[in-house]
Amino acid sequence: MPRVVFTSNLQRYVTCPERAVRGATVGQALAGVFADTPQIRDYVLDEQGHVRRHIHIYVDGRRIADRERLTDAVHDDSEICVLQALSGG
């Protein structure tokens, strides 16, 4: 199953350990995480279901292309990394 890893900075606000979840797309995999831990969703996605502007998601080292519908494909051995973009201040 694909693994989902969250930035450690998110741990300040909500518990989000590394997880193995089912899914053939980024959206399906994240849905598996949110089903178990719904409070993570609002930290990663906005109210329209899009990836928040200052969050990046990488699959096997490549940044995902579809930040709105989350249709990028994932494989059984994929690693999905949810990271914060760099921002100043």
């Binding site: 990663v44 109210e47 928040r52 200052h54 914060q84 973009a85 921002s87 201040g89």
Partner: protein, 362 residues
């Protein structure tokens, strides 16, 4: 009189408490997190703070024990955005202001947001609903950003005589008022003047850039507005506005506060307009009128004698319920309190993070 002040900053929520006649800073909450709006609910003593986490979005916190412990509660969210909807994305950028509902409806809260949203909660923030009558008003998509990419609601006045009468100010989009609890809305900025617009649009109520609007609790038909290019006052519940031309130092600024017990007394913090936005002649000063805007005094006692570039933003001037105590907080981290209606000021700190909001709590 209030002995406690909440200070929302770019790096957390600070509390200043008065003990044995001295004001002192307590340990901060949410250190490192931007706090954009604070509220102390006098009906049940709950404290609220709106956070704007750079990466993770807007998050809300409330405390039922005076700030010792905080819990997360729901943030306002916009409904699903229809395809091709005009205007900015239906995504919460910032909670800009929070206010309590009427005294007879405990738990009712209002929030003004960027982009241009007015939200109401009936359960202390567990759930929020967008006031769709205003959001879907055809004029809303003509509102313009004022300092931010999208327009926002920064001022909400609930009439203490009738909580169904709600007035909000928009930067930029004028003043809007409902008399039926938010079912219908009227534009209420007649008499305002926008000198930054082409001549034939300057009097258009829809383009007025109100920076901050407050109503006098003991005389709610009197409202004061610090506008982008002037100060305006209404004495008829926002039906009409009169320009106050006697401002001292400058008519530009962001903040205004009105004496809760005397609608003729109001305070401002002028700045050089409009590209510079620093104190006039680098001398930080508060101005006060006690006669409804006919004359103004300049109050500097206790404010920096040396050159100062402190800007007081729109929510960073507050007066307590007695009208005696005031606080100002600056975008360069200065915090001052007055215990005598602004006659003199004491510096609480010159080294806080940039201050977005100050608010007295009971």
């Amino acid at each position: 009189m209030s002995d406690r002040l909440l200070v929302g900053t770019r790096k957390g929520l600070f509390t200043v408490a008065r003990r044995n006649g001295r004001w002192s800073l307590l340990e901060p909450s949410f250190l490192g997190d931007p706090v954009t709006a604070v509220l102390a609910d006098p009906r049940d003593s709950t404290l609220y703070a709106a956070l704007n986490l750079g990466h993770f979005g807007v998050k809300m916190r409330r405390s039922k024990d005076g700030g010792k412990t905080w819990e997360e509660h729901a943030a306002p969210t916009y409904p699903p955005q229809p395809e091709n909807a005009p205007g900015p994305a239906w995504k919460l950028v910032q909670v800009w202001v929070m206010e309590t509902g009427g005294a007879d409806e405990p738990g009712v809260l209002w929030a003004g947001t960027i982009p241009g949203g007015l939200f109401r909660s009936r359960d202390r923030g567990d759930n929020w609903s967008l006031v769709r009558s205003l959001w879907e008003h055809p004029s809303r998509t003509e509102w313009m950003g004022g300092g931010y990419d999208a327009a926002g609601i920064h001022s909400i006045c609930i009439d203490p005589r009738d909580r169904r009468k709600v007035s909000v100010a928009v930067s930029t989009g004028g003043v809007w008022q409902s008399r039926d609890g938010g079912e219908t809305w009227d534009l209420r900025a007649s008499g305002m003047r926008a000198e930054y617009m082409p001549p034939d649009r300057q009097g258009d109520p829809l383009v007025q850039d109100v920076h901050r609007m407050v109503a006098c609790p003991s005389r709610p038909d009197v409202l004061w507005a610090q506008h982008h290019n002037g100060v305006f006052r209404s004495t008829d519940g926002a039906a009409s506005w009169n320009e106050i031309r006697a401002c001292a130092l400058s008519c530009f600024g962001f903040a205004v506060a009105v004496d809760p017990n005397n609608a003729d007394t109001a305070w401002f913090v002028p700045a050089m307009k409009d590209e510079k936005r620093v104190p006039v002649n680098a001398q930080l000063a508060v101005t006060r009128t006690r006669d409804g805007g006919r004359t103004f005094e300049v109050l500097r006692d206790g404010l920096p004698a040396e050159a100062a570039y402190d800007l007081i933003y729109r929510h960073a001037l507050d007066v307590d319920g007695s009208g005696e105590r005031l606080a100002i907080g600056s975008t360069t981290g200065g915090l001052w309190i007055s215990e005598n209606r602004g006659n003199s000021w004491q510096c609480i700190s010159a080294h806080l993070p940039p201050i977005a909001a100050v608010r007295f709590a009971q």
